[in-house]
Amino acid sequence: MFKKILIANRGEIAVRVIRACRELEIATVAVYSDADRAALHVRKADEAYHIGPAPATESYLRMDKILDVAKRSGAEAIHPGYGFLSENSRFAQACADADVKFIGPTPYSMEMMGSKTRARQEMEKAGVPFVPGTSRGLSSPEEGEEVAERVGYPVMLKAAAGGGGKGMRLVHTREELRSALESAQSEAQRSFGDSEVYIEKAIVNPRHIEMQVLADEHGNTVWLGERECSIQRRHQKVLEESPSPIVDPEMRRRMGEVAVKVARAANYTNAGTVEFLVDQHKNFYFLEMNTRLQVEHPVTELITGLDLVHLQIRIANGEKLPFIQEDVRIRGHAIECRIYAEDPDNNYFPSPGKITVLLQPSGPGIRRDSGMYEGWNVPMDYDPLLAKLLSYGTDRQQAIQRLQRALYEYFVAGIKTNISLFQRILRDADFQAGKLDTGYLDRLLANKDNGGPLQAPESMVAAIAAGLFAVLDPASAANRNGNATGMDTLRSNWKHRGRSEALR
């Protein structure tokens, strides 16, 4: 087994990997930027090295500095986490060149899956089901019109190198197609330096369901169940669960088998995720493969009882998978909330800053993977994911109940978080009925939040508490009068505006 692993990441995922390493008695090496000296991953690692200023391009994305730390510290392997360099095949190659094991797939598999059109070509050869459309970039507007005619409107234009909704256009009629194609191509060029755009039949109100796979370096590949990821805002996943409310064992087996076929076709090794679009008739279509550990991997861990990071490390170490497909036992239901530093009352503006109070849930059925602590200053330089709160239950209803209970216990002051958003989702009738698709969250947010059951005497209770705080904790009361000038009014005005905008 490796004696030392470098974790080329930060935040909750770095902490999660450090924990796995400690469990396996592997020493850990953290890297950190100027903004992260006091971050939890630095505190928890056995070693920690500074790699540059706050901007990721000058620190967490600097392959040379990270490989230099690996060399200095004697780390034998690098876990890239998610984001940053995790899907960068050049980094995987650079690790191999430096004789450091990259804990993930080979550069070859990463490259194949990195280009959507190339992936589509390879997967079509392997007989993987696709949304009808082209498997390569459009050479002309005429070709686009012809394909669109064949698959039927509405169609979706997508950038080959795309991600995050950039270079995407939904086209309803032939008349719109030409100008949409031009603008998608120029956006793709601007965003990715590559104007290649392809066309697909648009699936109306699809679900986004993905399948976890795991492959060792000896040719064994298994699937570990699906994750329902349809709840998204601005193409970012917000809440994930497993099993999906619509997937039965037969459909799960079929999706799993396709996912394994995808992985095999890419000579895939280590942990990966095959994403599918699912239409209203439960047809599923290959979307893309994520060649890394996903943010939402814990929901699969909870329903299978496996530890994916342990298994990633063992696979990278050359071990065989310790089980076969038939041994995988899916039991119960798991849901994950991504706790972001953002303000639900203010158009989801990011909310970095100092965490002044932090009360964290625990107890039956609750897992918390967190990168924050009370007193920590959440930097403004990175993505706003603070922690993941998960629940496990005998069934979906119990998982929802336990998660609601845990969210009730969760309290973060000093910065804003989206905890209230999850409370809203979990009490929503459509969510409880499992009626989900990728448009679900936009529809929910378009409605006015009734704020849940409102209790009349609460305002009086708050007033009494305010007085008692002032009497019993006068130090803080003094502090209160400190900066309170006219800005109060300004801020709250600005807030009300933000709030009413969010409700449009």
Binding site: A341, E342, N346, N347, F349, P350, P352, G353, T356, V357, L359, M380, Y382, P384, L407, Y408, F411, A413, G414, I419, S420, Q423, G451, G452, Q455, E458, S459, M460, V461, A462, A463, I464, A465, A466, G467, L468, F469, A470, V471, L472, D473, S476, N479, R480, N481, N483, A484, T485, G486, M487, D488, T489, L490, R491, S492, N493, W494, R497, G498, E501
Partner: protein
Amino acid sequence: MVYEIIVDGKPHRLELEKADGLWECRIDGREIKVDAVIPRRDVISMLVDGHSYEIKREQTPTDLHLWVGSTRHAVELRDPRSLQSRRAATGDEKGPKKLVAPMPGRIVRVLVEEKSEVEAGQGIVVVEAMKMQNEIKSPKKGTVQKILATPGAAVNAGDVLAIVE
């Protein structure tokens, strides 16, 4: 002790007196006995008529909020004897409004020029934080008196970005 306390815009008058280890509260004409302890900073546990309330305090340099359960209440506390807080309370509703940064970040772009006319809700400055670009919008219809934001500069929460008259 007497306080004037505004909760979500609604004023309450609160009198507090300690008796027999309990707090006798007179609020809006009602008399309520409260058993209160502070188990940790910014958390108060109150027992009122058998009901157990745990109220959490969120204190920023500019705002005070109290959370009762999962509900957040904006609170302003005024000691009627204090002139200073009374003055603050009368903050002018008209006149120039400051556009402040809602979070620390970096100025990406300024979308209007000084002296230009803007609508309420029109974007004025774009601030980047946590990999997201966020348009900070005008609080009112009017004229941009002054722009204090410079592209590339770092700002803190509460920093004034512009003034709209």
